[in-house]
Amino acid sequence: MKFIHTSDWQIGMTRAFLSQEAAARYSQARIDAIRSLGQLAEEHDAQFMVVAGDVFESNQLSAQTLSRALDALNSVSVPVFLLPGNHDPLDASSIFRSKAFKDQARDHIIVVEDSTPIPVPGLDNVEVVGAPWFSKRPAEDLCARALKDLEPAPGVTRILLGHGQVDSLSPDQSQPGVVSQARLEQALAEGQVHYVALGDRHSLTNVGNSGSLCYSGTPLVTDFDEVDPNKALLVELANDTCTLTPLNTGFWEFQALQRDINAPEDLAAFAQWLDAVRGKECTVLKVGFTGSVNLALAAELDALLDKHSQVFASLKRRERTTDLAVIPDALDDNAIALSGYADATWKALLAQAATDDTANDALRLMYRLAGGAASEIKGPSSEKGGRSA
């Protein structure tokens, strides 16, 4: 028996650091991930799919987003079990109970609304037991509760569908909703359930040593700190063995970098690295720079980032981790060969720039307006976007 374990689709999520254009593609990618999950199910002969919570980013989504997500879900050819998670709990404003959802979702889309075992359509003796969230603040370990009420059913393969952090991984174990890993392992050991499909961690994680207790991670990366996103799990249960196969589902990448730039060679290396990035339009980069550069190099760095920011989904400096000292040197002076009062101005700003960022900026501006490395003077009309070419 094979099925796909996935979670944390977070449909409707947007990221503030993306431009509008990139944000639209990123949102679309979430919808596309559903279709590709459907295709993967077909390719690997998975008989159904479980989504372990946070299908939706929120219960307050637009009709458009919901309709598109349901359209993609409807196109999946196997039964799909949707578990309400902390983002989309089964509360009074639950999106799963909205009219739009009920009207549009086809029969093979099954919302887990309680912990009653649900037989998987088309399969004998296979049941899904869910621990849905009814509010954003559960008062107890929902998985433990679902297991407590579970009547034994010999001969039936059961998959527990849960959402939340297990206590071994949770940073805050005092939260009442934290899932007890021991209880889950006990249930697996006793044969009460045969696989525990967890959601909430966006990184694919195998919990404990049972081999049957996993977080699938999100099918489309949502943050820089996710370890192994863009994955889903193909789970095969046969003769008391559990085989897990990670599947690739997404191709977006979020990367946080730190580069040290001190010489033109460093910049050249960074430029090379950037060039080598594949799928730039689906890559989100944030880069922190450290080191010390002269104006010419600073201008080159600006130009490099400017050039690539057109291509990448997002390319930003990490202001928090950027500590790049821009110090004009003799090379810069030669490059622009100022005279008269312009020269006096240059020197005055230079003296100020050591302690004053604005003076530094003014220097760089003057450097640019005076032509920088190129000897040609450019009027402001030829400048677009405030960066030199």
């Binding site: 980013e57 009074a92 307006l369």
Partner: protein, 874 residues
């Protein structure tokens, strides 16, 4: 740059003109309208305006009425370059550039223009070129040198600067343009307000959306709480229900006990009534018997009291009769006394009347006598006619007569006869005897006739006036006589006598009358008469009525005594009678009361007797119907029955007490309330749940979250943009300010060489103590001469013009080493005097040694003092 030649064709009024310039100063002379100014105009246009230009000023150079192109050509040496440059405007427009050195080049059209511009601007400061062109008719005073880079460069050199690359101006423009992207040039106001606004808008939107979502979240939380409360209540309901039922059961037991008690109490109630009834019957019977006994006793007392009352009444009656007899006696006695008193009164009256009558009769008699006297006097008066008036009249008349007579007599001839011897004679027939010693005297009033007997008749006639006087006497006599007759007197003497008599009589009448009045004393005679008659009558009547046997009292005094005696006797009698009357009345009243009492007691006794009889017969009847013993028996039976029921009741109450119904009721009520409250709470919570649910239903799939995400993203973007803009703006501002600061400072540094240049030339013109003050923009602010500072604007037109030219010349000298710029002066110094012209000529010549100078003039004399000069005539 050096101008070598300039050629014009068909330029305004000039059909053809060719000028070759000197290396130093070239003076071009020619009358007005010959085209001097056209030379300057053409030169300026050649460098600035493309041949294809359709500008008005370009079109204006076409000669009037000729359909030909206007062309200008110049040979120029500029740095290493030497070239011929030609442009034709309007018709057959075109540009040609023929470069001879350093490399031969041949260009046409815009390429030629651009190349020429490149060469020119590369070697010459075009701004300075414009500034040094003194065109006719333009203001010549102030010179804008500040925009000139070339001059700045030259001045920088002169000031010993590090060298100016010539790019500052472009950099400055670029910086200014950059600054102006973010701020307005004049006020320095930021231009990126829209970005700030955008940030604010997005931030507001984010805040609103967050609030809305938070409210939604609150609703959700409340919904959860309410739902939890409902299920808690619903779980609690059965427990409450059960508690309530238990209490109800206990209460039901108590209730049935209560019901039995009530039923028993109901049973006892009619029995109690029957007992009351029987007791009443028995009591009434006893009361009736007691009543009769009491009445009998009462009646006996009343009857016993009757006899003394009757006796008392009879006694009283006797007393009354005795008193009545006494009273009657007194009545008779009183009547007799009254009669005696009456008689005494009448006697007294009679005596008074008689006395009065006598007095009145005496009075009347006296009045009669006086009246007779009065009558006699009246008779006397009746015979006298004279009045006091009449007497006066008569006396007056007599006197008048006397007067008249005497008057007559005095007037008459007086006749006096003295008898010597006795003699007799007649006078008027009257015999007169005369004796001696007794003369006869007569007045001759009328004719007198004296007859002396025997002797003679003597007639003496009066004079004529004597007659009138006599007549007067007669008249008076007559008057007197008339009066006497009227008063019936004979003579005057009688009149007097009679009048006196009359007066006496009248006096007497008055005194008699007074006496009568005294006598009557205010009464009149007639009423006295009437009184007399009345009194007479009264006296007569009294005498007649009187008992003749009774003697009249002797006097009024006696009568009075009798009257008093009678009055006293009557008073005593009446007093006694009044006392007797009072006593009698008292006795009568007593009698009446005694009789009434007797009557009342008797009536009472009768009534009591009758009632007693009734009662007796009634009681007898009742006893016959139901004997006393039977009644008593009924009472006893009823009492026994009631006692039994009460005992039962007592037992039931004790049972009920043991069950404690009050606390049972309290507990039941409490349980019911708790149940009801829970039910009500459920309903209320369900209602709130419904409200929340409907609100949350509406919130489903409303896209709020995505809106917030989008808004947050827009905000982040706007904030980024703004931050970047602000950073760039700050940089641009700092750069702009620093650059300006240093530019101003450097200008200040350049001021010195320019000032020295102008001062050097100025000394030639204005004397050795000439100096100037330059502003930062190199304009002349003040002129100092003879130690006095004069503002530039206060200078004369001529001096301003001279200074303008000197400034240009000085500037041209300064830049001469860097390629130089020609100074062209068109028809200037019209306001200068000959001395000044001479020194200006020297200054221009001095400048011409370093820079090319072209002077155009229509008045050759003006520049006759120019020494080293190539003169061209047009």
């Amino acid at each position: 740059m050096k101008l070598l030649t300039l050629t014009l064709e068909n330029w305004r009024g000039v059909s053809s003109s060719h000028i070759e310039f000197d290396n130093a100063v070239t003076l071009i002379e020619g009358p007005n309208e010959v085209g001097k100014s056209s030379l300057v105009e053409a030169l300026r246009m050649l460098f600035r305006e493309k041949s294809g230009s359709k500008k008005k000023e370009v079109q204006a150079v076409q000669p009037v009425g000729q359909d030909v192109g206007s062309s200008v050509a110049a040979e120029v040496r500029c740095g290493d370059y030497h070239f011929h440059y030609r442009k034709t405007y309007n018709r057959k427009a075109g540009t040609e550039l023929r470069i001879l050195a350093p490399r031969a080049e041949q260009l046409t059209g815009d390429d030629a223009h651009n190349r020429a511009w490149e060469i020119l601007s590369g070697h010459m400061d075009m701004a300075l070129w414009d500034a040094l062109l003194v065109e006719q008719g333009k203001e010549i005073g102030g010179v804008r040198l500040a925009d000139s880079d070339g001059l700045a460069r030259a001045l920088d050199n002169a000031a010993g600067g590090a060298g100016v690359s010539g790019e500052e101006s472009a950099l400055f423009d670029a910086v200014q343009a950059e600054y102006e992207r973010y701020f307005t040039l004049k006020t320095g106001k930021p231009r990126y307000g829209d970005q700030q606004q955008r940030v604010e808008q997005h931030s507001t939107q984010v805040k609103q959306l967050k609030t809305t979502l938070r409210e939604l979240d609150d609703d959700l939380r409340r919904f959860e709480n309410v739902s939890a409360e409902i299920s808690r209540l619903q779980r609690a309901l059965p427990e409450l229900q059960q508690a309530k039922e238990q209490h109800e059961q206990r209460w039901t037991a108590i209730d049935s006990l209560q019901a039995r008690l009530t039923a028993k109490e109901e049973e006892g109630k009619p029995l109690q009534q029957l007992l009351e009834h029987a007791r009443n019957q028995w009591q009434r019977r006893q009361d009736a018997a007691a009543d009769i006994a009491r009445r009998e006793q009462d009646l006996a007392q009343k009857q016993a009291a009757l006899q003394p009352l009757a006796e008392h009444a009879a006694e009283l009656e006797r007393t009354v009769k005795a008193a009545e007899a006494t009273h009657k006696d007194l009545q008779v006695q009183r009547r007799a006394l009254q009669q005696a008193l009456q008689q005494a009164r009448r006697d007294t009256a009679y005596l008074q009347d008689a006395a009065e009558l006598a007095r009145l009769q005496q009075l009347l008699e006296r009045v009669q006598t006086q009246r007779a006297e009065l009558a006699a006097l009246r008779k006397t008066l009746a015979d006298i006619h004279i009045t006091a008036e009449g007497r006066k009249h008569i006396q007056a008349a007599a006197s008048a007569l006397d007067v008249a007579s005497r008057t007559r007599d005095n007037a008459a001839t007086r006749l006096s006869i003295d008898a010597l011897q006795a003699a007799e004679f007649q006078l008027n027939g009257e015999a007169i005897s005369l004796r001696p010693g007794t003369p006869l005297e007569r007045q001759v009033a009328e004719s007198l006739q004296i007859d002396i007997p025997e002797l003679a008749r003597i007639t003496i006639a009066p004079a004529a006036s004597a007659g009138e006087l006599a007549a007067e006497v007669d008249a008076k006599q007559q008057e007197l006589d008339t009066l006497l007759a009227r008063y019936q007197v004979r003579s005057v003497e009688q009149a007097i006598t009679l009048d006196e008599r009359r007066a006496d009589a009248e006096q007497t009448v008055r005194s008699v009358r007074e006496r009568i009045e005294d006598t009557l004393q205010g009464a009149d005679e007639e009423s006295l008469q009437v009184d007399c008659t009345r009194l007479q009558q009264a006296c007569d009547d009294a005498l007649q009525q009187r008992d003749p046997d009774q003697p009249l009292p002797a006097s009024a005094h006696e009568a009075k005594q009798q009257l008093e005696t009678a009055g006293e006797a009557l008073d005593a009698c009446e007093s006694e009678r009044d006392q007797e009357t009072g006593r009698l009345q008292t006795r009568r009243d007593e009698l009446t009361r005694a009789e009434a009492r007797q009557q009342q007691a008797s009536t009472e006794v009768n009534a009591l007797t009758s009632v007693l009889e009734d009662k007796r017969s009634s009681l007898a009847q009742e006893r016959e119907a139901e004997p006393d013993a039977a009644l008593e028996q009924v009472v006893t039976e009823r009492e026994q029955q009631l006692a039994a029921i009460n005992a039962e009741l007592e037992q039931l109450r004790a049972q009920l007490q043991a069950e404690d119904p009050d606390s049972a009721r309290l507990q039941l009520d409490n349980a019911s309330h708790a149940l009801r409250r829970a039910e009500r709470d459920i309903i209320e919570q369900q209602q709130e749940q419904a409200v929340l649910e409907s609100r949350l239903d509406r919130a489903q799939a409303n896209g709020l979250f995505e809106e917030l995400e989008a808004a947050e993203q827009a905000l982040a973007e706007a904030e980024d943009t703004l931050a970047a803009t602000e950073r760039r703006a700050a940089a641009a501002k700092l750069l702009w300010e620093t650059l300006n600061e240093h530019r101003d400072a450097s200008r200040q540094a350049y001021v010195r060489p320019l000032r020295e240049g102008i001062q050097n030339l100025g000394k030639i013109v204005f004397g050795s103590d000439f100096d100037i003050v330059l502003g930062e923009d190199w304009t002349i602010l003040d002129v100092i001469r003879d130690g006095k500072t004069i503002p530039f604007d206060s200078l004369s037109v001529g001096a301003k013009e001279q200074l303008g030219i000197l400034t240009r010349l000085a500037a041209a000298r300064i830049v001469a080493d860097q390629g130089g710029v020609p100074v062209i002066i068109d028809d200037a110094l019209g306001f200068s005097d000959p001395t000044r012209l001479q020194s200006m000529g020297a200054a221009i010549a001095a400048a011409g040694r370093d820079a090319q100078v072209v002077v155009l003039t229509c008045t050759p004399g003006r520049f006759m003092y120019l020494g080293e000069v190539g003169v061209r005539r047009l």
